[in-house]
């Protein structure tokens, strides 16, 4: 028999069978089937399958349960913002002492370039009196809430490797990001949103998606970018001509068909697939709801300095971060790449402060008012610092990995506190150095983890966020 005949006959037989079953034996009309769909959805075996994002308990009682990381990519100048160096101001235009430069390599400049004084005076803020630049009035306003680390150190002097190191604990690509480790360790409480959300403004990062990727961890732990324009999540919108009802009808049919396959073969992957579709469907509603700031009062927008809530901006991302954390999202990371002032130092830094400073501070105070700061970790910082030596004429600074500043706030951290000290030029750390790995170890500690024990086996090795390094920085713990 010709195969085509076989198929035609088989199809016809099936058709007859189906007709008899559907219109005869079955006895249920269309409406009945549609009504049954919801019940079937909720009672299906799939609904009970374990999710990789289920909430998990850490090693010890955590001081914080969520993180918002305001990553200032491009490397902000600690000398203009957080680390006041009167001696540098005094020696503006002179060459640095030779002893300072021994064995030192800069990215672009001849290290033996003139010193460049800070572009703005500093002043003490808050009752703690932390000295910060006069162009940081709002962050100054939360001085008593932050823990400023002036002794950060890193290994890399170029953006891509340094950003990857700061976010994954390694200069090599392919490692999980801090957010992914957090999700892997803690799971997520958000049922209708991803557990790890990424928001970007200004230019993009040099390390690309690896900065928030899952590396060798399961893909489910990677950060999901919420986009400033277009679909907030890639492919979130239904195709043209498909509304939420028609989408639901198709998903119901899909759910039922997958359920039939699940009950027939019992493959747990089918159950996970069904769950993933349901979360995707919920996300189609929850993500636009999240992005829609119409329900935020005017004062809230003003507090963050959001001029137009429909325009993507760093300030809008800060407010979105608060909304995400309120909804149980475990880890929110903002990327603002704009801080690479090889030239145009004065205007560039000033503009960046205009763009980000108020909103960064507003996020901290807003979380505090809502009672969320006590168990949230807030991080503000970039991938390295800048040289005290000038680059170009008199308005630029090169990359510098030996010392930079970063601040933290929230659960388990000291408040109104400064940790670590650099020399008179802000060049070397002279007290309490904090390497990137030490920072990671401490952040994991606050989240309830022994950084030595939060491991994942890949390529025959138990990998950690801190690789083979990391010492707890007790000096910043409350």
């Amino acid at each position: 028999m010709n195969p085509a005949d076989t198929s035609t006959i088989a199809a016809l037989r099936s058709r007859l069978l189906a007709r008899r079953w559907f219109f005869g034996d079955c006895g249920v009309g269309l409406a009945g089937i549609a009504a049954g769909a919801l019940a079937a959805r909720e009672s299906s075996a799939a609904a009970r399958a374990p999710s990789p994002l289920a909430v998990k308990q850490p090693h010890h009682a955590p001081r914080a349960k969520r993180v918002v990381y305001m990553f200032q990519a491009g490397a902000p100048s600690h000398l203009e913002l957080y680390d006041w160096k009167p001696a540098l101001a005094a020696r503006d235009g002179t060459l640095p002492p030779a002893s300072l430069l021994e064995g030192y390599r800069a990215a672009f400049i001849n290290p033996n370039s003139a010193l460049l004084g800070p572009k703005w005076p500093f002043r003490p803020y808050g009752t703690s009196g932390i000295e910060m630049s006069e162009i940081l009035p709002h962050i100054g306003g939360i001085a008593d809430d932050i823990c400023l680390v002036r002794s950060m150190q890193t290994d890399a002097v170029n953006h891509a490797p340094a950003q990857i190191l700061m976010n994954t604990g390694s200069q090599q690509f392919g490692r999980p990001s801090f957010g992914a480790w957090t999700l892997y360790g803690l799971g997520s409480e958000a049922e209708d949103l991803p557990g790890f959300v990424v928001l970007t403004s200004a230019k993009g990062t040099s390390g690309g998606a690896s900065n928030y990727g899952s590396g060798f961890l399961p893909t489910a732990y990677g950060g999901i970018p919420l986009r400033g324009s277009g679909d907030p999540v890639l492919y979130l919108s239904n195709p043209r001509g498909v509304d939420r009802e028609t989408q639901r009808a198709s998903l119901d049919a899909l759910h039922q068909l997958n359920d039939l396959s699940l009950s027939r073969f019992g493959d747990p992957q089918t159950a996970a697939r069904i769950q993933a579709y349901e979360l995707a469907y919920r996300l189609q509603e929850s993500a636009p709801e999240l992005m829609n700031l119409a329900d935020e009062p005017k004062q809230a927008l003003a507090r963050y300095g959001i001029a137009d809530p429909n325009q993507p901006s760093y300030a809008r991302n800060c407010l979105l971060a608060r909304r995400l954390l309120e909804r149980g999202v475990r880890f929110v990371q903002l990327f603002h790449e704009a801080w690479d002032q090889h030239g145009n130092l004065k205007n560039g830094v000033k503009q960046n402060c205009v763009d980000t400073e108020q909103a960064s501070a507003a996020l901290v105070s807003d979380l505090k008012e809502r009672g969320l700061l006590d168990d949230t970790i807030v991080i503000w910082g970039g991938e390295f610092g800048r040289t005290p030596m000038v680059q170009g004429g008199n308005d630029g600074r090169d990359h510098h990995n030996r010392a930079f500043s970063l601040w933290l706030a929230g659960g388990g951290l000291k408040r109104g506190h400064v940790h670590g000290r650099t020399d008179d030029f802000g060049f070397n750390v002279v007290e309490n150095p904090v390497h990137v790995h030490d920072l990671h170890a401490t952040l994991l500690h606050l989240l309830g983890f022994d950084h030595l024990k939060l491991t994942y086996r890949s390529q025959g090795r138990d990998y950690r966020l801190t690789d083979v390094h990391g010492t707890l920085v007790n000096g910043i713990l409350a």
Partner: protein, 865 residues
């Protein structure tokens, strides 16, 4: 639990009658019998003598070697447990006398200061592990070399048996498991088609297979698929992952580079069944082989696939070191299955690879001509001979024109000099800048620059200024002077560059005469130049040839990798191949066959595959054919709950496995079913639709993504433009790796983004719409018949009654919904670039598009059965 010193009595298996324990461990003679007795008694493997590689090495490696292993730099108490002599000499191990062995005392100690491993290592031993160590010492503490460093031994197989089946069945008998029955033919053909070509079969192919009653029906299907040009495409996917093939450089700007001819070379090599040894040699040393051709040189693009940077401020030394380590890691990942990267900073903690080995391996690549930072060169022209000839002709013509103009240059320059002198002497204003100037703004701007340059003397001008003055003089002051020569040169240059621009190029390996100096970098620190200079050498822990009178080179390295002496390569490659056909490797850790890897459950089988591979002269198709022809491969992947519980990870292969298709194949499947797939093999990478703004964070320069139009839009997934830092989001969602690092094993996740891609990515919406067109035109009349037809196209089977009864109401519901809202139906019809044929009712089409979408989204559709 402990036995008297010197008595090699078993200590495990506590609750069993002592007679059985004794039988189970009493010498070789009774083994066959007692295995039977055991499998009758309990469904668990018999308790054999402890085997070091299987039982002990994993424990020592994971718990002890970090401090008492191969890394001399971190060794504690001068004790090493990876070496029998040292362990005995230190008193840690007294063979046959566990109670007197230091190791036993320490692992049993209750004193936190004495117990090993120390509590701060967070690697405590459990009771079973302690027992195994004690038994092993009691039995004589025999060591074995790590299994993967021993030469593979070909196990005896009874004549006429498929070796794979024989070796798998032997294991199954030992552990008391029954093989699953053969899968049905439709499942087999789906499985084979996905595994060998990456495409689903057509219903007609399934019908033909079902109808073929001849005894070699299966074998002929295998041969048909092995001969398909899509076989090479399927095989290439895994290889491109492990060699980290991508269209862009990786770091920072992540700009494009020319490498796609290498991808096609890989596909062609698999299709032509190039022996794997030659395939290897051409990749590492296609420039050095005695019979080097453009083809072998394209293979050598392998050495150029690493990450590079164009970041300003990057330090050459830093990136020289990154490139060296990247290449060593690649050799480790692709051929040796060793995690060499650890040895960049210190001797490996678990495996015998030292820092010296690491940099000595790196020194093999010191002759690769590649600048550490900056834009990559265009690469070698890859073109048919006639184009190569034409380029040579154009180059020659350009050379001649250059010669002609060079001959008159002194006169031209003299004239220019005179003119410059006059301009200066008479304070001439250039006419473009004069009061009556009719110059365009651009001309005036150019003239202003020239005037400024003219104010400086020749020595004071920079290159651009000199060029501007020269150009101005030659084109505007005395354009007629030697016009013919100038025009001839300009047109020869233009013709040459235009033709060259349209040719395909590929980065290849070019050897440089002065190899770079390779030093050991202490702690991997590139700024430390105090380390010893290293020459190329084979890793000291593996057997290697002696090369007399010269230093070994890349070609030697390549030949050594595929030599009989090398115990690793064949195993590593066969283990990866096994994964393609069974879902995971025989050793589960594909990228590490070292001590921290996973000893294969069936080492004889891996050894047999490795030996057969080498003995067949590295015949890849032969190995593929052998694997897919086995009864083991043809088993059903479903199993009873009891069978699943007995071996949840399917280590013993008493069944097949099912898994979600790879990212590329998810796309291919939808495009194949809807008929949009363009089946051309090879060519420049393709840019399928991508959400607007997805590249907005790419800088230096900023870029837009021009999605391809026409046939290039409907290419197979493996041709997708591989942008390392922002891989196409649909590929990323289905776990395609960024290929920044070598990737032997993809993760296989099941996440909501996959649902969003399959539901809403325009590629899939368009595919569903195109499928709907086919359903309406080819699927027959009544809706039931059309659903059955569509189901068969997508899944090569008819729907079950309850499946039909689920889709039918969906169709009617959607039909009613779109009938009430025809503009929505028009909107849905507009997805993608493909046009909708006239004469199809848009409302009906919309309803069928939904049915098609459901079919594309079924878990079964994207599952290799």
């Amino acid at each position: 639990m402990s036995s008297p010193a010197g008595t090699p009595a078993p200590t495990a298996g506590g609750g069993l009658p002592s007679s059985i324990r004794l039988i189970a461990t009493s010498g070789r003679a009774g083994l066959a019998w007692c295995a039977v007795a055991w499998s009758a008694a309990v469904a668990a493997p018999p308790v054999d003598k402890v085997v070091f590689n299987r039982d002990i090495r994993p424990i020592l490696s994971d718990h002890c070697f970090a401090c008492h292993g191969p890394d001399g730099g971190k060794r504690q108490a001068d004790l090493r447990l990876d070496d029998r002599e040292s362990a005995l000499a230190a008193g840690a191990i007294l063979p046959g006398r566990p109670e007197e062995s230091g190791l036993v005392a320490r692992i049993r100690s209750l004193d936190p200061d004495l117990v090993m491993p120390p509590p701060e290592a967070h690697k405590p031993l459990d009771a079973a592990e302690r027992d195994l160590l004690v038994r092993w010492i009691a039995e004589g503490a025999e060591y074995q070399r790590h299994w993967a460093y021993e030469p593979p031994v070909r196990p005896a197989v009874p004549p006429g048996m498929n070796a794979i089946d024989h070796l798998v069945r032997s294991r199954l008998e030992r552990v008391g498991l029954e093989p699953a029955p053969e899968a049905d033919r439709r499942t087999l053909l789906r499985r084979l088609s996905f595994d060998l070509t990456g495409l689903p079969p057509t219903p007609e192919e399934v019908d033909a297979f079902l109808a073929d009653a001849s005894p070699d029906a299966y074998g002929r299907v295998v041969e048909r698929l092995l001969a398909s040009p899509h076989y090479g495409e399927r095989m290439a996917i895994g290889w491109l992952d492990v060699v980290r093939f991508a269209d862009t450089i990786g770091y920072h700007s992540d700009n494009p580079r020319n490498v796609w001819p290498y991808r096609d070379w890989v596909i062609r090599s698999f299709n032509d069944n190039v022996p794997f040894d030659r395939f290897t040699v051409h990749q590492l040393a296609g420039d050095l082989v005695p019979d080097a051709t453009p083809e072998t040189r394209v293979g050598s693009a392998f050495n150029r696939l690493l990450l590079t940077t164009e970041e300003g401020g990057a330090q050459p030394k830093d990136y020289e070191s990154r490139m060296l380590t990247d290449r060593v890691r690649a050799v480790g990942a692709v051929w040796l299955g060793q995690t060499t990267g650890c040895a960049q900073c210190h001797d490996h903690k678990f495996d015998p690879i030292t820092t010296r080995d690491f940099y000595a391996l790196g020194a093999f690549f010191a002759d690769v001509d590649e600048r550490p930072i900056g834009r990559r060169e265009d690469g070698m022209v890859v073109a048919p001979p006639e184009d190569v000839k034409k380029l040579a002709d154009l180059d020659a013509a350009l050379g001649a024109a250059k010669k002609a103009i060079d001959a008159v240059l002194p006169q031209l320059d003299a004239a220019q000099k005179q003119w410059e002198h006059d301009v200066a002497a008479y304070a001439v204003t250039l006419p473009e800048l004069g009061p009556d100037s009719k110059a365009t703004p651009d001309e005036a701007k150019a003239a202003t620059q020239v005037a400024a340059a003219l104010k400086k003397d020749f020595a004071g001008r920079n290159g651009a200024e000199r060029e501007a003055v020269q150009k101005y003089f030659r084109t505007r002051v005395s354009p007629a002077l030697f016009r013919a020569e100038q025009d001839a040169f300009a047109s020869a240059e233009k013709a040459r560059n235009e033709f060259y621009g349209g040719l395909t190029k590929c980065l290849v390996t070019v050897r440089r005469n002065e190899p770079a100096v390779v030093r050991i970098l202490p702690r991997g620190n590139w700024m430390d130049e105090s380390g010893e200079v290293m020459k190329a050498a084979f890793p000291s822990f593996l057997p290697a040839p002696t090369i007399e009178g010269r230093d070994p080179n890349r070609l030697d390295l390549a030949r050594w990798l595929v030599s009989r002496e090398n115990p690793l390569t064949a195993r590593v490659v066969m283990n990866r191949l096994w994964k393609q056909f069974f879902g995971s490797g025989l050793s589960r850790v594909l990228d590490d066959l070292g001590g921290q890897g996973d000893p294969p459950a069936n080492p004889e089988l891996l050894d047999w595959l490795a030996c057969e591979f080498v003995d067949s002269a590295w015949d890849v198709k032969h190995m593929v054919r052998t694997i897919v022809s086995s009864a083991t491969y043809r088993q059903a992947s479903t199993a009873s709950p009891e069978a699943l519980a007995a071996d949840p990870a399917n280590r013993e292969l008493a069944r097949q496995s099912a898994w979600r298709l790879d990212a590329e194949l998810v796309r291919d499947t939808a495009l194949a079913s809807c008929g949009l797939l363009v089946r051309t093999i090879g060519g420049p990478s393709a840019k399928p639709y991508q959400p607007e703004g997805y590249w907005e964070n790419l800088n230096f320069p900023t870029r837009t993504y021009p999605a391809d139009t026409g046939a290039q839009q409907y290419r197979r997934g493996l041709y997708t433009w591989w942008q390392r830092s922002f891989l196409h989001p649909s590929m990323l969602a289905f776990d395609a790796p960024s290929r920044e690092e070598c990737c032997a094993e993809r993760t296989r996740s099941n996440i909501p983004q996959q649902a969003l891609v399959l539901l809403n990515d325009p590629s899939y919406v368009e595919a569903a719409r195109a499928f709907a067109v086919r359903i309406v035109k080819e699927g027959g009349g009544p809706p039931e018949e059309r659903i059955a037809w569509a189901w068969r196209q997508a899944l090569q089977r008819l729907p079950r009654v309850e499946e039909l009864a689920t889709l039918l109401p969906l169709y009617h519901e959607q039909l009613a919904a779109y009938r009430a809202d025809p503009p929505a139906a028009d909107g849905l019809a507009k997805a993608g670039l493909a046009s909708v044929p006239d004469g199809i009712d848009r409302v009906e089409l919309a309803a069928w598009t939904h049915v098609a979408r459901v079919l594309f989204n079924l878990h079964e559709t994207i599952t290799r059965p």
